[in-house]
């Protein structure tokens, strides 16, 4: 059983042109929503490597939200279609791991849909609450956080002038 004060933590990958702008619009409109989401800004949802999603989940996130432009509206023509393909494949893999479906979510949110940002985040938080923490470490018998890096992160060169 988890801590009564536990709050779901969601890492979100938002595309710059639509979803991130929509989240800005939600802010400008002073809409209020749950504080459980941490947004990582990318240029396009097509940049979302499935490894990012896995890294987030293994790193302690209880859910991952990917936001992109509506099909047909991608700022880079079709990046979001690739996101969709990858997401659908990843979903099957995650189901195989026994991961509950609400934990990883893909939403199309246009730059004008500040209200949708609010609604999606609130809904996702409420859907994750009954599921409890993901507890990756416990599920897969690994140390949580250790699996966070899909590739060893290179340290910046400590080179001399």
């Amino acid at each position: 059983m988890h801590d009564a004060n536990w709050e779901p933590r969601i890492v979100a990958f938002f595309c710059n042109w639509c979803t991130y702008t929509a989240a800005d619009l939600a802010g400008v409109s002073r809409l209020k929503y749950a504080p459980n989401v941490r947004i990582v800004r990318l240029m396009c949802s097509g940049r979302v490597d499935p490894q990012f999603i896995l890294a987030a989940l293994a790193g302690g996130a209880d859910g991952v939200l990917i936001g992109g432009c509506h099909p047909g509206d991608c700022h880079y023509a079709e990046g979001n279609m690739k996101t969709l393909r990858r997401f659908q494949m990843l979903r099957r893999v995650l189901a195989g791991f026994g991961l509950e479906e609400p934990r990883v979510r893909l939403e199309w949110i246009s730059a004008a849909e500040g209200e949708k940002v609010r609604y999606v985040i609130n809904e996702m938080v409420e859907q994750l609450r009954p599921l409890g923490p993901l507890a990756w470490g416990q599920r897969f018998g690994v140390e949580e956080g250790a699996a966070a890096h899909a590739a060893p992160a290179p340290q910046p060169e400590a080179v001399h002038a």
């Binding site: 989240a23 802010g27 499935p50 880079y76 079709e78 730059a111 590739a151 001399h160």
Partner: protein, 666 residues
């Protein structure tokens, strides 16, 4: 200093902005600064009231010098607003501008949450992520992309006309594309303009002629943009030129062909007179049309429909041979550096409010129909007439038709109050009719407009405040027999009233054009919730869009009157000219690149790029990316199985560190 900008140590300067009360009101900035100060590599951690201000920026610059900072993180508003500002500040401080990362704790945090503890925790998490990420940033240079000096202006209403003339006068070559057979837009249909009651044609037609005469403007009417390829500075635009069946170069606009047409009388509804007048299949849209060239309506022309026509029009044009039935649709390509979209608006369809009787009662007309009636060159020669040809003794205006209404359009269309009062004054001038205006609020914000409202009151125009419930023809009292009855609550008097009138004018609101969604996709723009083209920033960048090199102006951006449309046209022209005269635009260097050593030549990336920026080199058997074509979406980066494709500014390690960072704090 190496490409990392270090002599070994990473030294990060962290700044969290209070933004007055905007952030500090919900986020404990000092606590965030304290937390970040403890992180490895953070040399300086401050909180300050207004980071984007002069002193705020100077603070960064001073710290860079005095504390040998080689990375800067600012936690404040959205990067979409001030990333550029801070990058400039960092650069002015002597550091490469890309050694900077911004954290959004205003739009994404303080403005949207209500619990201070939660908001502060979120700010800490986001700040930690940025501090981790920025370590991996490398020095980058912006690339310069040359700007083609020509400009495309889409839409030939007053906005497009003004933008085109401004650019052309500045020595730039302009392609002005207009869908209708003549430029002029909605303004060409007006009689007089508010608040000066200037004759619309008198102020518009000289501009229209100037467009025609200008050597720098290529005027393409009866044409539409069908494809846009490329990017800022280098657009290739395909324009479809629809056939008029009359050669523009040869026709002098004498109109003898129209007189000679086998249709002795005009028979077909006339688009310019919004169906109130008639025209022949061969026609000129209106007397002052530019270009002053005739065109043939293929759907109605006897020759096209039956093949059996005497073609008296051709005979009448025997010396110039301007009529050409064989004309075909043409696709033309042009290269331009900038595009200004000025496609205007359409009017609300009054049939959507059946209670007002438009389409059922013949003497219920729209504002634009009345506009054509009062115009001396209109279908009734300037007489305000009922459908039976008599003069009305009483006219009512219903305002906000379709606007400010949850059931139809929620916005205010901004111009209808003034437009209606203008028409009301003109009706008083042309007839002796009693005029009543039914309004919710009177909005008269521009110069001279409140005074215009006063004049309307002095002219004896009556104003009844209340939303009209119904227009009906059932009469209750004798004076209502044979008239239209308006039922409305007079909210100032506190009674429901029945007012019989002869003629009712509906002040229909403005809406985005019917094909606004198609058009915005064509130019890679977004639309706002209401359907108007989306500006980059509603306050600071009303004519720019999120796509560099594409500007919007006029009513396509939102309802506005003529002076504001012209102001935006000038603004868009100026923005375009600024780019052209500088000669280049600086591209954000977030392009993808391939590490040739790691590339295995699997070709998975090749079909992914919509800009065909990835090419396969048969000699080396490896893929390579053309940085000029790459737009920086990162799709190929995520797809590469060997991880050999990387993206500047969005490197894998940068993103992984950000993910790790947001999860270090609850």
């Amino acid at each position: 200093m190496n490409s990392n900008g270090t002599n070994g140590d990473i030294r990060i300067g962290f700044y969290i902005c209070h933004c007055g009360h905007n952030i500090e009101g919900m986020v404990d900035c000092a606590a965030v600064a304290r937390d970040i100060a403890k992180l490895p590599g953070v040399a300086v951690s401050r909180d300050y009231k207004y980071m984007c201000s002069e002193p705020g920026q100077e603070l960064i610059q001073t710290d860079i010098r005095e504390h040998a900072l080689n990375r800067v993180v600012v936690a404040s508003c959205s990067p979409l607003l001030h990333e550029h500002t801070f990058r400039n500040a960092v650069e002015a401080g002597g550091l490469n501008r890309f050694f900077f990362q911004m954290v959004n704790i205003r739009e994404h945090d303080s403005w949207v949450h209500t619990d201070r503890a939660a908001a502060t925790a979120k700010a800490i998490a986001l700040a930690r992520a940025a501090v981790r990420r920025v370590r991996f940033h490398r020095a980058l240079e912006t690339t310069r992309v040359p700007i083609h000096p020509d400009v495309l202006v889409v839409g030939g209403g007053i906005t497009g006309i003004h933008a085109a003339l401004t650019l052309a006068n500045g020595g730039k070559k302009v392609f002005l594309v207009e869908r209708e057979p003549s430029i002029g837009g909605h303004m060409a249909k007006f009689d007089k303009t508010f608040p000066t009651l200037d004759c619309a044609a008198c102020i518009l037609t000289p501009k229209m002629s100037a467009v025609r005469a200008h050597e720098n403007i290529n005027l393409w009417t009866n044409s539409e943009v069908v494809k846009v390829e490329g990017y800022v500075g280098n657009y290739t635009v395909t324009v479809k030129r629809r056939p008029r069946y009359v050669n523009e170069e040869l026709c002098v606009g004498c109109q003898e062909c129209i007189a000679a047409c086998v249709f002795k009388e005009p028979k077909f509804p006339d688009e310019f007179n919004v169906g109130l007048g008639k025209r022949k299949p061969i026609y000129i849209p209106f007397p002052q049309a530019v270009p002053q060239v005739v065109l043939i309506d293929r759907e109605r022309c006897l020759h096209f429909k039956t093949g059996k026509c005497k073609k008296t029009c051709v005979e009448a044009c025997a010396d110039r041979h301007a009529i050409d039935f064989t004309q075909k649709e043409e696709l033309v390509q042009v290269r331009v550096g900038n595009i200004i979209v000025a496609t205007g608006f359409k009017l609300f369809d009054a049939k959507r409010i059946p209670q007002y009787g438009y389409g059922r009662y013949p003497n219920v007309v729209t504002s634009i129909e009345l506009e054509r009636l009062v115009t001396s060159s209109g279908p009734t020669g300037g007489e305000v007439l009922l459908r039976d040809g008599t003069h009305p003794k009483s006219v009512a205006f219903i305002l906000c038709v379709g606007s400010r209404d949850f059931k139809t359009n929620r916005w205010c269309s901004r111009t209808c109050c003034m437009h209606s009062m203008k028409l009301a004054q003109l009706v008083r001038e042309h007839t002796d009719a009693e005029v009543t205006v039914f309004y919710l609020d009177i909005r008269a914000p521009g110069k001279g407009c409140e005074e215009f409202y006063d004049k309307s009151l002095k002219d004896g125009i009556r104003f009844v405040r209340g939303r009209v419930a119904e227009v009906t023809d059932w009469a209750l009292r004798e004076e209502e027999e044979g008239k239209l009855v308006i039922r409305a609550e007079d909210t100032l008097a506190g009674v429901v009233r029945r007012i019989p009138v002869d003629m009712i004018v509906l002040a229909v609101g403005m809406e985005p054009q019917a094909d606004a969604q198609d058009v915005r996709r064509l130019f890679n723009m977004s639309c706002g919730t209401e359907g108007w083209f989306l500006e980059k920033h509603p306050k600071l960048a009303p004519v720019s869009t999120f796509t560099d090199g594409v500007f919007i102006a006029g009513c396509c951006q939102g309802p506005k009157d003529i002076p504001d449309s012209i102001a935006q046209a000038g603004a868009a022209a100026a923005e375009a000219m600024a780019l052209i005269d500088r000669g280049y635009i600086e591209q954000e260097p977030n392009t993808a690149y391939i590490d040739q050593a790691d590339c295995s030549g699997c070709k998975s990336c090749l079909p992914l790029c919509p800009y065909t920026a990835i090419a396969f080199d048969e000699a080396t058997k490896k893929a390579a990316i053309n940085a000029t074509l790459c737009k920086g979406c990162g799709t190929c980066v995520a797809a590469c199985p060997s991880g050999s494709i990387r993206q500047h500014l969005f490197e894998d390690e940068e993103i992984f560190s950000e993910i790790e960072g947001v999860l270090t704090h609850a």
